[in-house]
């Protein structure tokens, strides 16, 4: 056992990168759930975003265009979910699961011609001399733009939900859609927009895996990250900054256990691997005492005539 081989600076930098796909997807899902919709299709939208972003980045040579395409791809797929649950009033859980399965299959089909191709690399954001500061430089100022975008997104979602009229309306729709409807807010329209926002975020999270973290395309490459993002929203009790904390915790534990193994520490891997889920369960138990945590109309279908 030799812990000195683990460089904490590199570990934290790797952790931030590992957490970004979960962070993006979970932030999107948080907005969806705050609007009262439970979309279990995060995994499907992520994997579709991963291939859309990858394909467009390869074809155009621009990773940034790829990320925009990934957001569009995720949003378009989420429209299917919005149609099923908001127009035809289908069950949200079943529709979400169907969306995941559909996304996995569709992405495999779209990705046929992209196996084994190397995507264009997104350059790290240039902070100039800031990146040369010891310790802080490599941790804070040596990442790709999308990682910073993820952080910015959390701050924006937090500010919008807390301080703006639009955020208040969104939360009102999520807490009690009948009351919001009675006040004249367009519940279905607001929810559809929220679902599309969630889809776009999940798509970008998927593209972060295929364009930056791995970077390559393989079928099923999101490998369950979407489910972690779903758990994370609950873990964060629907609060944006806690999503950030949770994403770093979840991403960090994976990085830490890989590094500890490399250093020869004999902690059974299973404990570390299951710890994010154990923490989520504990948080759920704690939260169950506080019924106000979950949006009141979460998962319930809305129709103006009811």
């Amino acid at each position: 056992m030799d812990l000195s081989v683990i460089n904490p600076i590199l570990l934290i930098a790797a952790l931030m990168s590992a957490a970004t796909p979960i962070l993006l997807a979970a932030t999107g899902e948080l907005v969806v759930e705050r609007a009262g919709v439970l979309n279990l299709g995060v995994e499907g939208m992520m994997i579709l975003g991963a291939i859309c972003g990858f394909a467009i980045a390869v074809e155009t040579g621009s990773p940034l265009t790829g990320f925009i395409a990934a957001a569009l791809g995720g949003a378009v797929l989420s429209l299917l979910f919005a149609f099923l649950t908001q127009i035809t009033l289908a069950n949200q859980v079943a529709s979400g699961l169907a969306l995941t399965l559909f996304g996995l299959g569709l992405s495999a089909l779209l990705g046929q011609g992209y196996v084994g191709i190397k995507p264009p690399r997104m350059a790290d954001f240039n902070f100039g001399p800031l990146a040369d500061i010891p310790v802080i430089g490599p941790i804070l100022f040596s990442h790709d733009p999308i990682l910073y975008f993820g952080l910015l997104l959390v701050a924006m979602v937090w500010a919008v939900l807390k301080f703006t009229r639009a955020g208040l309306v969104l939360r009102a729709v999520g807490e009690n859609h009948d009351a919001a409807h009675a006040l004249g807010y367009k519940v279905v329209r607001i929810r559809t927009l929220a679902i599309m926002f969630g889809g776009a975020c999940a798509g970008m999270g998927g593209a972060y895996i295929s364009l930056i973290r791995v970077p390559q395309w393989t079928e099923g490459m999101t490998a369950g990250v979407g489910w972690i993002a779903l758990a994370l929203v609950v873990f964060a009790s629907w609060k944006p900054w806690r999503v950030l904390l949770g994403a770093y915790l979840f991403g960090g534990i994976t990085q830490l256990q890989l590094n500890l193994q490399g250093a020869g520490v004999a902690i059974p891997v299973e404990y570390l691997a299951m710890s994010p889920y154990v923490i989520t369960i504990i948080v759920l138990v704690v939260l169950s005492a506080d019924k106000s945590a979950a949006p009141g109309s979460l998962g319930r279908t809305f129709h103006a005539s009811h």
Binding site: I6, G116, V214, E219, G262, A266
Partner: protein, 359 residues
Amino acid sequence: MKIKTLLASAAVALGLAAGAYADGHEKTKVGFVFVGPIGDGGWTYEHNKGRLAVEEALGDAVETVYVENVAEGPDSERVMTQMALDGADLIFTTSFGYMDPTINIAAKFPDVKFEHATGYKRSDNVSTYSARFYEGRAIQGHIAGKMTKSNIIGYIASYPIPEVIRGINAAYIHAAKVNPDVEFKIIWAYTWFDPAKEADAARALIEQGADVVLQHTDSTAPQAAAQEAGNVVTFGQASDMGQYAPFPRVSSIIDDWAPYYIARTQAVIDGTWESTDTWDGIGAGMVAIGEISDAVPADVKEEALAMKAAIADGSYHPFTGPLKKQDGSDWLADGEVADDGTLAGMNFYVEGLTGEIPQ
């Protein structure tokens, strides 16, 4: 009256179904259960190539079906049952974790033949087959030991099962033989296929000083991570992964299942199929060594090819004594060769490896 009509039509429908069943049964139907997607570029990709080779070689006489991304464990029983009910005559289950499910389902369908890859449990209608990947690992270890400058070799392992442990031992023995200072850092990923995790594992190893990364997982993600790092050597696993040649991928172990799959399918067609245990290596062609690229110095390449030839003609066995176990106890005396039984159930590291095998 109504019930009678219903029963009658049900009987007719059943008769039709049985007729269709008999009709569809003229072709020999071969099913494949895959652990990853066929586009993984590694393990499952090669098994699927074997499946396509069966179709090509036997043409109209066969029909193949496959299910990909089947989780190891109970869910695979459902997939196998469905295949057997759909009239498969021969089913290949292509991952270690399908072992018990294969035995269970085979007992329920005595007329269907099963072939389980890399396992050790057989029955009247279950054969096992595997390749001696460790022969390729020995050659990789030799090249890795010669190529490393930091003397740290990273190893991304999947699950602590004999097949993987054999690979680690074979690679370590031959790396240490040419470079006594070499150290192996082993990360257990607990997955066969998870590109993001494999890439993370590769990066963690590289950050800890490894300049050669060996992998026993199925995706090409570690290759991409090594390419990004710039000065790290890798080897293709299960498939050539030639898109990363000539560097970082300097060579590879390729599994060639096609001849075996064709032969076994032909045996079912001819009615000569019997439960067997096949374990072939470089000599029989089940394990191939991908081209050693120019990034490897010429003399090292020559030595590696010489070892390959010696293993192929049987004059050299990768596990030849004197060898000790990790705890220092004797395993093989000078010149003694490991027997297949010990290899098949290998659950210990050889002397020099650090760390413990997770239980």
